[in-house]
Structure formats: C-alpha cells, structure tokens
Symmetry: C2
C-alpha cells in the first residue's frame, strides 16, 4: 500500500509540492490526491489585471499546468470543484465537499498533508459591501467575473486601495475605456513604497488620466434597488461606480487550518519550519499565500502573497515530502509592478518598517538616467536607499522609473540578502555600457549618497557629543 499525500489547493504551492513529491516518489510509493475548490489549477494570479486589461489572453494562457498535465504526466489525481471543509489532524483525514451539481461530501485519509489554500482579498465590513459589482481580485474566477462585468460596457470604475493590484486594475479598467478613480486611505498610493516614492507613481498615474484621491478612506457603498453598487462614499465625497475593485490587499486563507488546530502566527499565516513542515505537526506541510515566512532584514514573520514565493515553498515542501532535503530561506520583501510606462520596485524595509523594527536610518534619493544621457531612450529613474545609521548596512531600496528601471532592484535585493553596507555597495562592479547605464550606475550613485549620509550623521553625532561634553 502506498502512502497517500493529500494536497489542499492545487495552485502554485500545492501544484509544485505535488509534482516535486512525485518526481522523487513514484505512484507505487506515493498516491497523490489534489483537491481544488476552483475550476483551474496552477495559474498566474498576477496575470489577472493584464487579462482584464486585454493586454494578455486568458484564462488558459495564465495556466502554467492544467489538470490533464497533472494527471497524465505526474499521475496526480486532481479533483476540481472539490473543497476541503474540515481537517482532522488526530484522525489524519479531511472532509471534502463536492461543489458541482452532484453535491455531497466524503472523507479522505492522508499520510502526508500539504496545505496550499492561498489568500483571500480583504473585504472591509462597511455598509453596502455586499452589493453586487464589488470585486476582489485573487482567482481566475474573480478575473472572469470582472471581465464579464466590463463586457457590459460600464462607464465608471472605482478602485478602493491604491496598492499594486489596485493600480494595475485601475490601469486595466482605464485601458478598457472606463473613467477610473482610485481611493487611497494613506497619504500616497503604493503604500508598499515610502510616501516620497509613492508620490512619483501617483503623479504618473494622474498624468495618464486616472483620478487618484489620497487620504480618503472609504466609509461605505451605495447600493441600488437592484442590489448593484451605485457609488463609493468617503468623508470627502461620493464617487459613482458601475464596477468597484477592492485593492486592499489579501490575507492568508488559514481559517480552515486554524480551526483544525494548525498553528497560525501573528500575521494570520500558518507557521512552518524551514522545510515548510507545519510547526509541531508531523507529515503536515504548508506553503504559498496561506503561510507566514521570515523576513531576513526585519527578522520578523511576514505574510507576503506572491507567486514566486509560493512556487519556491511548494517545491521545498514537495522535495521534503519526497524524502529529499531543501529549505526555504526567507525573504527580503522584493516586489515589482508597473502602471502604464512607470515601473515600480522595492526590496527590504520602508522607513516605517525600520521604525517598527527599532532600526535608525538615513536615506538617499537620487534621480538619474537608465542609460548614458546622450544615448537614445535614456529615461528618468529615481532610486531610494535606506541605510542603518552608524553601520551603514543596507536596509531597503525602492525604484520608480520608466522602461528598464524596475528589474534593477534585483541587484539591491542580493546586496540586502548579503547584509552589505552602502559603502561597499557603492564600490561594486556593476555593468556599464552607454545603452544600459550612465558611467555611474544609478544604484552606485545612490549607494554613494547613502554612504555620505551615514558619514555625515556620524560627524553630527560626534559634534553633538563634543558639545555636551564641553557643557559638563
């Protein structure tokens, strides 16, 4: 009798875990059943805004591995529209509800359990939130629903929350011919950046013709007698809306696991060890948007919903389930996105993250060019670096610029990963040729300015100390 691996959620993490486990253990050794409550497997949720905006085709182009591939190539028993409604850790079994017409439910025993239940969009408990026409963006089904709504030719779209999904969706609706307004509660949209960098994004978005209202938390939604949303209401005004997109982020979908007694951390994500094994539970694994992971700079748990982490964590879990050994090392908080021609990137801590972590810092923000100034296509790029006082250790970096800007964050992410100081970073051997960079790469210039800021701060501290001593 082979062991049985039951996978809950067959998207990035669950799908990767299942296929990696199969690579190491054949069907004679391991039976694999993957339960997916939705209608699709292993798809790119990050691609949904581009599908809605008609930039890419969907939904099938967004699917990395379909159920037939799982079945035929990996001998994995994928069951679509089947939802796990209860986990019994004692009995080592799950209760599965059939969501299709047949209905009903059944019990399935497991030897190994992989939890990959993903995330759910945050839906604020505001008056009118139940109105039709208010969409979160998380699954291909969500994407389909928004596309169907847009196909009916609505005029006005309101995006609640100007994070990266919100901004991408604002552009998508705009590209589909709608009047679009973004309502952001914070002082600037793109709150994954510091406000000074978020401002650069919002200026660009406003320049496109999208209205951006900052400092306007939503207070409720107006609903028509037909049950459909009519408008979004803030303290400042009333914004008519045929379609509303929630861009308030997502939270780990860990309720099912938590009810079963699976440990959940302060972020709401399932707690695992480095092998992606759930803390304290043998044979139970988790990965992807439903878990929390370790932030290498803040040294705190974080829940970051991102396909690349989900794929890696699923792969780690699958290799360990298969009897190999691999760990997930944690993250530094790298992310990129774009709105129209504006590219946005970040890694590490923002200023407010530093404050929360008890790290004092200096900053440098430099506007430079993506190419040598004289080379055609040279575009503005703004780079911000945050460095710890005294030590000069790199703590975070952000980039806002035009084409060829955002991917430069990777060099900063690797520098951060290695705990480099800005002084050392300023001396590194980054690539230079006129079509690719000024002779001083924007990263080098910004690191140099940050190193100077560290030095100036030390000098100031010395002067301050000397003055105090003089007084005593």
């Amino acid at each position: 009798m082979p062991e049985r691996l039951v996978v809950i959620g067959c998207d990035a993490a669950g799908g990767a875990a299942a296929s990696q486990a199969r690579r190491l253990r054949g069907p004679d050794e391991l039976e694999i059943v993957a339960l997916e409550k939705g209608g699709y497997t292993s798809y790119s949720a990050c691609g949904i805004p581009y599908w809605v905006g008609d930039v890419v085709d969907g939904p099938y182009d967004l699917i990395a591995r379909d159920p037939d591939t799982f079945r035929d190539r990996f001998d994995i028993d994928v069951r679509l529209r089947e939802e796990v409604v209860e986990i019994d850790l004692e009995a080592r079994e799950v209760t599965v509800a059939r969501l299709g017409d047949s209905g009903g439910s059944y019990i399935l025993e497991y030897d190994q359990l992989m939890i990959g239940t993903g995330a759910v969009p945050v839906r604020p408990s505001l008056p009118g939130i139940e109105a039709e026409g208010i969409y979160g963006i998380q699954t291909l089904g969500d994407g389909e629903a928004v596309r169907n709504a847009i196909d009916k030719g609505p005029k006005k779209g309101v995006v609640v929350g100007g994070g990266y999904i919100g901004m991408e969706m604002a552009e998508a609706l705009f590209n589909r011919g709608m009047d679009v307004t973004v309502l952001e509660a914070a002082t600037e949209p793109m709150a994954t950046l510091d406000p000074d960098m978020g401002r650069l994004v919002s200026d660009a978005v406003v320049g496109m013709g999208i209205a951006v209202h900052s400092n306007e938390p939503v207070e409720g939604f107006e609903m028509g007698t037909d049950g459909r949303v009519r408008a979004v209401v803030t303290a400042e005004g009333r914004y008519e809306a045929d379609v509303v997109i929630l861009g308030l982020g997502v939270r780990p979908n860990s309720d099912l696991a938590a009810e079963a007694g699976v440990p959940v951390g302060p972020t709401g994500g399932i707690r695992t060890d480095r092998m992606q094994k759930v803390d304290g539970l043998e044979g139970v694994w988790a990965g992807g948007d439903c878990v929390e992971t370790y932030h290498l700079v803040s040294r705190r748990p974080v829940a970051i919903a991102l396909g690349t982490h989900a794929n890696k964590q699923g792969r780690v879990a699958g290799i360990n389930i298969g009897g190999g050994y691999l760990t997930f090392p944690g993250v530094v908080g790298t992310a990129v996105s774009k709105v129209s021609d504006v590219e946005i990137a970040r890694t590490g801590l923002r200023e407010k993250d530093c404050q929360a972590a008890g790290l004092q810092y200096v900053t440098a923000l430099v506007r430079s060019n993506t190419r040598a100034g004289y080379y055609p296509g040279a575009s503005p790029i703004s780079t911000k670096i945050i460095a710890e006082k005294r030590t000069g250790r790199l703590l975070g970096a952000q980039i806002v610029g035009f084409t060829e800007s955002a991917k430069r964050i990777d060099a900063l992410a690797i520098a951060l990963w290695n705990g480099m100081t800005v002084e050392e970073l300023a001396g590194t051997d980054l690539s230079y040729a006129p079509p690719f960079s000024p002779v001083w790469d924007p990263i080098l210039i910004t690191a140099r300015k940050a190193a100077e800021a560290v030095e100036d701060d030390i000098k100031e501290a010395v002067v301050h100390f000397e003055r105090r001593r003089g007084r005593v």
Copy 2:
C-alpha cells in the same frame, strides 16, 4: 605656497582625481595642472561606436566635463595638446611637450602626481599594418578619423577581432551602409564569453547580414600604391577593405611610467595599492585603463579598460590626494554590450579562466524568457552559470538575450561579489511580476540547475570512489 598636483591625462581617471582632490583642498592649498595630449577632456570612449554608427551625436555629446568646466568650476589648469614625454621621479618633475603649432617643451615640478594615461589599441606587427585606413578605436580623435573615412562613402569594411568593440564597430559600419566582415582568430567571436555563449552572439550578428569568419587570424594587410589599405589577408582568404577597424583589444598605456621606474605588473598595468597610490612611491597615484587591479574571484591582477572603473579609481585617488580615505576594492569582471537587438553580459570567470586559476567547475545553461511567457514582449534569454565543484560557489555568469536581458547581470555580479553559492542564489528573493520575469526568474532557474549539477558531480565522485575501493 600651495602644493602642486600634476595630472597626466585628463580623461575619466585623471579628470575624476583632479576634481575630487579640488573638492577637498582649495586653490590656496593645492594647485592642479592637468596635461592632456588630446583635444578633449573626460569623454565617453564607450560611446564612440554609437557616434560612428549615427546612433548618438558627437563628439561634444560624449564629453562629460569640458576644459572650461574644469577651469571655471574647479579651478583646474587644463592644458590641451600638451603631452608628458618624461617623468623624473627623483626630481619630482615632468617634461611636457607642446603638440600645437608653437611646439617646444617645458619642465613642470610636482608634489603629487596622478597618472591617467589610459590605454592604447593593440596593433599587431603584421605586414601592411602601416597602411592608411586602418583604425584603432580608443580616443575621440580615432572616432573622428573613422567618421571622416566613412563620410567618403567606402563600400567594404573589415573588422579585425570580434570582441565587444569589434562587434559594436561592425554594427556601426553596417548601419552606415557598408558591407561588413568580422575576422576572428578564436573559435567564436565575443571571446569575453565562453564559446557556447559567443556562438549565440555570432549567430545573431550573421542574421543581421554581417559576415563573421571565426578561426581566421589575420596574416597581413594589402596596401595600394596610394598607401591605403586594399584588403585583409588570412590563411583562408583575402577580404577587400576600404576601411579596417582593429578590435583586438587595448593594453595599458604604461610605457612612459615604466621608463621612469614606475612599477608595472604582469598585465602591463601600473601597480597600485588599494588607495590607488603607486606601489612604493610616495605622492604618485594612478588609475583607469593604465593600471592593473585585483580580480576578486581569480585573486589575480587584471587590466580591464572600462570607464566605470576609471571613474571610480580616479575618484579614490582624488579623495586620498585630498587627505580623505577611500579604497578601490577590485573587480569581478562585469561587462555588458549589445549588437543590434542582442544584449550581451558577463561577470566573473569564463571556463578557461577557471582552468587557469586551478578551479574545477560545473556549468548550467538555460534558455528562458525575459517576461512571463504569456505577456507581450517576452523574449528569449540564455543564462549560463559556472559554479565551483564541491563548494557550489558561483564563479561566473554570462547572459545573451534580447531587450531587458543584459542588466540582469548586476544581480549575479553582486552575488559573485559576496561569494554566494548557487544553492543559496537559487533561493534568493528576486523580483517577479509578469511584465518583468517568469515566476521563476531566469537567474533562479539557472542557479538551480547549477546547484543540481554540483550535486550530481558529488554523487558521481562518490560512486567513483566506492568503485575504486571495491577494486582494491
């Protein structure tokens, strides 16, 4: 009486040294005289092929800082067309020849001396090399000469040496309407890459309509009775040429310094300490293409002619001359270039460099996409990683791909700088979003394959060992 700093060569290194020294020490403390034998100061030699190819304007657009700026903003006495023909280290003076109409020479004493004499193109001692119409590409004057030649409407261009300058110049001549042939002595052009990656470049160049002949070292040049070059001759054939470009690399222009007794290393570059002070000589500094530096991976001296190093080294020298403290940390051999739409990047050691350094290695070469496969504009990118056997330490990396490929080398350069293993690199937090990368970034996939190659090699070694033990 202020001290006097004499700067030999007012290009990237000399110019940066002069202006940094001035920032720290005013004219009352330090008189600065910069002697430049050419007609221009601080220009981008890397921009010359693009100027020749009419991609950028020149020569003035290529100049970062002109003589008036040096004089008016920095109080630096720049003397154009004045060449230092002798250095007397004992007497602490240089002999300066005036190259203009006035002629003559004079003696100039120094307290501090900065040597920034740059590099000279390699001119092989072959029959006919003295013919007119054979151009090296190093100074703005060289660029002007080639442009003047092309303006006369020549038909056939031959580029001798398919390195990055050779390839850039081949494209420039081609863009100006010439028939172009590249003659390369090695098995593939772009010998700064491994042959498997160089092949990708040569395929692309041939696809543009440029003829590339590998394994064809040049044996001589045919000269007409007018003293002009007629053809380039190899063992395989005779290639008619109206214009010949030498792309055989450059060597440090250290002869003047060596004659004076300045120490020159095995690379032909001037030997300096980390502060860019010439080894064993007080008050004598050097930087840029005329020096050798330390390769952090091979642990050997190298001479790499690159504007970004020259700028950094000049800045280091200038800050130290000014009484500050800064060091140049060495290089990892990062470089980028492009030919038409093909982007080329490298960092660290090639396979043959590993062999020369006594480092055994495995390799991984992965063809992937620059963006998510379903996102418009996704283009092929080939990434190669070289990792040390057993330790898995990253030793080098190369990238050949279309737009948005080359700058990704910077993340690998920083990884190399920090001595990361490919296993660790494969787990790093690189940025992902569909317009920027597949969910597994090409660097991560390649690092993973390299890590697997390291593991496979270890397993093979174990099997081999067990077999041998069995036999004994």
